[in-house]
Amino acid sequence: MKRWIPLLVFAILVGFFAKGLLLNPREVPSPFIGKPAPAFTLPLVGNANASFSPADMKGKVWLLNVWAPWCVSCRQEHGVLMELARSQPVPIVGLNWKDKEREAAQLLAEHGSPYVAVPDDLTGKTGIDYGVTGTPETYVVDKAGIIRMKHIGPISPEVWKEKFEPKLKELGA
């Protein structure tokens, strides 16, 4: 029977390869999907007396866009976000992450703000609560305050069309 072992090992491998062809190795799921968006209360950029908390958005489908003034790819997606802010399919909250140089207010004043609110996460602690791996990252939060999707990297028009639009439709935004 020994002589059949190589063939048997190969057959098992083929089974795995066939299954593997149907999987996408690049998709890394976030453990936060399906869980309530972690609560926080942070002061707003440009108006430290006011604050923002995810609870404020109850009843709405909204996006939490994690960005930073020092992040180059965030500038890339800025145009797309501005376009979205004009057509208003969904409100966008911009979490200003680790802005140690305090540049966000000036930058948004210069280039325009696509956000309904810009909470200021100076220490980066809120970002850690959300499992942020790098900027930009965008979370889709549903009406009940549950995270439904996470996108890593800048939002391009294609990504918006293929990834966000179907999800938002499903959530009834």
Binding site: R3, P6, L7, F10, A11, F16, L23, R26, V28
Partner: protein, 653 residues
Amino acid sequence: MIPELGHFALIVALLLALTQAILPLIGAQRGNLTLMSVARPAAQGQFVFVAIAFGCLAWSFLHNDFSVENVARNSFSQLPEIYRFTATWGSHEGSMLLWALILGFWTTSVSVFSRHLPDDMVARVIGIMGLISTGFLAFLLTTSNPFLRLLPAAADGRDMNPLLQDPGMVIHPPMLYMGYVGFSVAFAFAIAALLSGRLDAAWARWSRPWTTVAWAFLTLGIALGSWWAYNELGWGGWWFWDPTENASFMPWIAGTALIHSLAVTEKRGAFKAWTVLLALTAFSLSLLGTFLVRSGVLSSVHAFATDPARGAFILGFLVVVIGGSLALFAWRAPKMLTGGRFTWFSREALLLANNVVLLAALGSVLLGTLYPLLLDALGMGKISVGPPYFNAVFVPLMAPALFLMGVGPLARWKEASLPDMVSRLKWALAISVATGLLLPLTLKGFNPWAALGFTLSMWILLTVLIGFRERLKNSGRIGNLPRAFWGMQLAHLGLAWGVAGITLVANYQEERDVRMNVGDHTQLAGYTFTFQGTTERVGPNYRAAKGTVEVSRDGKKLFVLHPEKRVYNASGMPMTEAAIHPNFFRDVYVALGEPLDDQAKTWAVRLFHKPFINWLWIGALFMVAGGFLAASDRRYRIAVKATAPAGAAVQGA
């Protein structure tokens, strides 16, 4: 017109490959000489037509024919000419065409250098290789046609991946494929032997030079790939245990085991089944590597665009080729009689032990490479397996292999005497261990890994010298030693040299990531680095910030390095071009990170001091030279001629 000509040539090549596969195999089975004689001309014709197709694709690239989709995707009008040529195989389609071309080259080589082999053996070998060609040509034509037109034509191309625009990439893929595909010859010989039932010493002798040459090319290809990664990726590393690297490394390990196992089968008639299985394994792993890289089942830094249809085709092909050959092996295995008895302490036993260790190492690499896929397929989550796993598992497995490497060549066939070996080797062992224990103390204090590496390198060096001394005692003049012996010793010495280099660079390299403003100084490994700012430079198809870093020691200016940060015009991709000052003892390596202010005055700069890293590639070159030298031994030519008149050549040595 030219691309259509290429497409047509590819179709003709497929038809010729089918002819080359079917007629000679039928002929060999029926003993029909007319059908068998089709093998050589069909194989040579197939090669000519694949070469025409390849030439047409290269022509389209060199002439910037952006109406060809493959050219538009992978080339650019501003791309320098040499890279426009190498872009021919820079894409998935092109590299598969290169695969087919090199397979045709190997088949044609077999058809030319096989005059002394029995006709049915030649017909079977060429027929099997024709089957493989058929698979690859069909794959090209159905899922990966490089000649597809783009209507309307693109105004300009999207440029070749900037990572591939490096001198190392010009010859790395062809060399690597020469190795990968070269194992198809040993594979075809093994299948032919299984089909004919003539598994004897003559079969092993025929396979040996082909296997050794393929192995030498693969060694060269892997070394060039490592050298490229070191130069181009800007991380200062030379091996990343990336799936693509593993895909080339696994056939190399299997090929190394095969070379040694073939030696035993030829000289002693032992390990027949084992040798056949290794020959099947080496080429199967080449095919498997192709599947893993091309199908996108594993994500990798080098991965090409993925397409499920391609993955499904290659998987089907794997099932036919590997599954078929393993089934044939299982069916024919009882016919393989074991010959040549030996005791537990003999050259055979030592080579077998080495083979087992190599296969264990191979298994560990295979497991690490496939583990993420296995878990994902079982729905157990996404993980990635990185260098910590491979270093923890692979390095300890290689240590016994390197130790045995010193003993094996000095042991006698059949039965060696342990007390005799001990008395011959005790001084070598003592010196090696002393070197391992003491040398690290002169560097930066004791370190077990460094001690192990130095001991093993010294051990191999000394045993190689003992091997020369003992052979010279018997045969007198150094010129009388056969090339096979020289080749083995050179390759072993090369490995020792490489291991010494790896040990030194892995344990004693220094690096710093620093923020540097114009005029800033930084110290590393006794050198003083002065950043003198960057200037704009316009390249053929990119713009670069060219940095100037002056390196001095003890106040004396030594040399100036110019690392670059490039942005490629067509793709907008940024690229790090490290600047390296090499010499025999160390590399000084500087890479530019990101500019840290708007005026690009302050940069993140990465500095490395890499002691003895070039020993790695020098060692690899010795191994390559050893392989070619061993394969050119006159024994292979004379010995096979002597068996030719006898026709079947049934006798063992």
